[in-house]
């Protein structure tokens, strides 16, 4: 436990604690507002929301005063924070002395934590690219005209639950694990564990083909390729299965393709996490050039 308090108290990790509190609060606020609006809509009183939108107030003073107050509040918090907590400065840079563990800045620790489950070319290059491009693609994929300009849950269940899952489970939670639960050798340490640099971890990881007893490397290559292809083919199958539904009809083939690809890539992470934690499976597909 002492160890956890030590890491929690590091000045660079204080922002993470603040972030967790803020996201907790704002998620609660969203939920409250969303339920309120959903109730209004259920009762057929959507026009009351519209009326608020059509009702104009003066920017001066009604918006300007909030902005000034917010600015003062933020500056006060920042000033107190800067007086109370000093920015870290460790020993001079020494390329010959690698700290264990070496960690990226906290906002990238989600990516560093992904390295446990994927090789660097996926976790460090492909996934960040897909995250950025995927976020940019959201407005062009989401064809649901409802829920534009007000908090809701009932009208956008798929969009919101996917976003919340990706953001909280696959980004914030991984930052938390990477910062607070990964010690020397990037080994997993429970909060009450001592960060022992000599922790012995049994090398029990196997690859998927070994799990199924496949020995020949050629068969393993074909098998892994089949599994990965089949995983993405699920998206195609789902398309033909649900082709007639309103959801797929509205999307169209191109948008559906992008959505399915992004969604399957995203779900690849929790799937590989489960495979690793439950079955010690490292790679699904091994080739001479890359491993997945």
């Amino acid at each position: 436990m002492d160890n956890l308090m030590l890491i929690l108290g590091k000045p660079d990790n204080i922002p993470i604690i603040m972030m967790l509190v803020l996201f907790g609060f704002f998620t609660w606020l969203w939920w409250r507002e969303a339920r309120k609006n959903d109730k209004l809509i259920r009762e057929g009183r959507y026009c009351e929301l519209q009326a608020e939108n059509n009702d104009r107030i003066f920017t001066w003073p009604y918006l300007a005063r909030i902005e000034f107050l917010a600015a003062i509040l933020v500056m006060v918090i920042l000033t107190v924070w800067s007086i109370v907590l000093d920015a870290p400065l460790e020993l001079p840079a020494n390329p010959a002395k690698t700290p264990n563990p070496s960690k990226a800045p906290w906002y990238f620790l989600g990516l560093q934590e992904m390295l446990v489950y994927f090789d660097p070319w996926i976790a460090g290059v492909i996934f960040p690219t897909i995250i950025i491009v995927g976020l940019m693609a959201i407005p062009y994929i989401d064809r649901n005209p409802k829920g534009n300009g007000y908090y809701t849950w009932d009208e956008r269940k798929f969009a919101i639950s996917t976003f919340l899952f990706g953001f909280f489970a696959l980004w914030i939670a991984l930052i938390f694990v990477g910062t607070f639960l990964r010690g020397p050798g990037w080994n997993f340490f429970a909060p009450w564990d001592y960060w022992d640099p000599h922790k012995v971890v049994a090398m029990v990881n196997v690859d998927l083909h070994q799990f199924f007893g496949i020995r020949s490397s050629v068969v393993a290559f074909l098998f892994g390729g089949f599994v990965v292809t089949a995983y993405f083919a699920l998206g195609v199958l789902y398309y033909y299965w649900k082709k007639k539904t309103d959801f797929v009809q509205k999307l169209g083939a191109a948008r559906y393709g992008v959505l399915a690809f992004l969604f399957l890539c995203m779900m690849g992470l929790p799937i590989k996490m489960l495979l690793r934690w439950l079955f010690n499976i490292k790679y699904v597909w091994i080739t001479p050039w890359f491993n997945i």
């Binding site: 939108n53 104009r56 924070w81 907590l85 920015a87 390329p95 940019m136 407005p139 534009n148 908090y151």
Partner: protein, 257 residues
């Protein structure tokens, strides 16, 4: 007494000099309220009137504005820090110590720069969170969401490039870990898929371009300094301008249609 005070006030505010600077008082008339916004270069980013819910903190969370404020704080403190900091391996670390122990308010300056930067990362995420949950990326605001993602990425890169500058163990190894990913870039990194097949070596791949060497060293410090102090701030300013402009052009703050 009251008459005397009024006379004193008038002797200041009813002069040509005062009137040439401040066009409006605080008269509580609709016309004056319009003009307060229209005639002020900072406030005129806003429309003169806004939908009622745009004044509710529970709707806007103020996060976009706070992110912008924190950006301004880092810009101001950053320029001040530049007076005391030399981006070379010989001097960088000792300049940090100089800031910490000799420069008046040097530590405070550095703290404020760092915490504002970390705060900006958090508030920009919260802003994205709010915009997503209100569905504000939906037509006609699709493109502004894309600009927002560019700004988010630039914020992270701005923060990351600044992380190296103290030139201590924390910064050099954090940046080493971060930039090591570049070796694995498909096609362009010497450890990435099909990289070696295309002739990528540690001394000619994309990581080498980024670091100016095969490991994080003095050339990297200079590169990150220039990226941090010149390239990314200008990049961010350009996209912030587009972002703000498009809010207005896309119909102001989103609301139930």
């Amino acid at each position: 007494m009251q008459a005397f005070l009024n006379k004193m006030r008038d002797s200041v505010t009813k002069t040509q000099v005062w009137k040439s600077v401040f066009r409006h008082g605080y008269e509580d008339t609709p016309r004056n309220r319009y003009l307060q916004v229209l005639d002020n270069v900072w406030l005129h980013l806003h429309p003169t009137r806004i939908p009622r819910h745009a004044g509710y903190v529970r709707f806007t969370w103020c996060m976009g504005g706070i992110t912008f404020l924190l950006f301004l704080v880092t810009a101001v403190t950053g320029v001040l820090l530049m007076f005391y900091y030399r981006p070379t391996a010989e001097y960088a670390y000792s300049d940090m110590k100089f800031l910490e122990f000799d420069v008046p308010f040097g530590m405070f300056l550095r703290n404020m720069h760092r915490w504002a930067a970390h705060g900006m990362v958090i508030t920009v995420w919260l802003h994205m969170f709010r915009v997503f949950l209100t569905g504000s990326y939906k037509p006609p605001r699709e493109f502004n969401w894309v600009v927002g993602i560019i700004l988010l990425t630039a914020t992270l890169l701005l923060s990351f490039t600044g992380y190296l500058l103290p030139w201590d163990q924390l910064s050099i190894w954090a940046v080493t870990v971060g930039t090591n990913m570049a070796r694995a870039t498909p096609l362009l990194g010497h450890e990435g898929p099909f990289g070696p097949e295309l002739g990528m070596r540690p001394d000619n791949d994309v990581r080498f371009v980024l670091l100016g060497g095969t490991q994080v060293g003095p050339p990297t410090l200079l590169r990150f300094y220039v990226l941090h102090c010149i390239f990314f701030p200008i990049f961010l300013c350009i996209f912030i301008a587009v972002h703000f402009w498009r809010i207005r052009k896309d119909g102001g703050i989103s609301g139930p249609l």
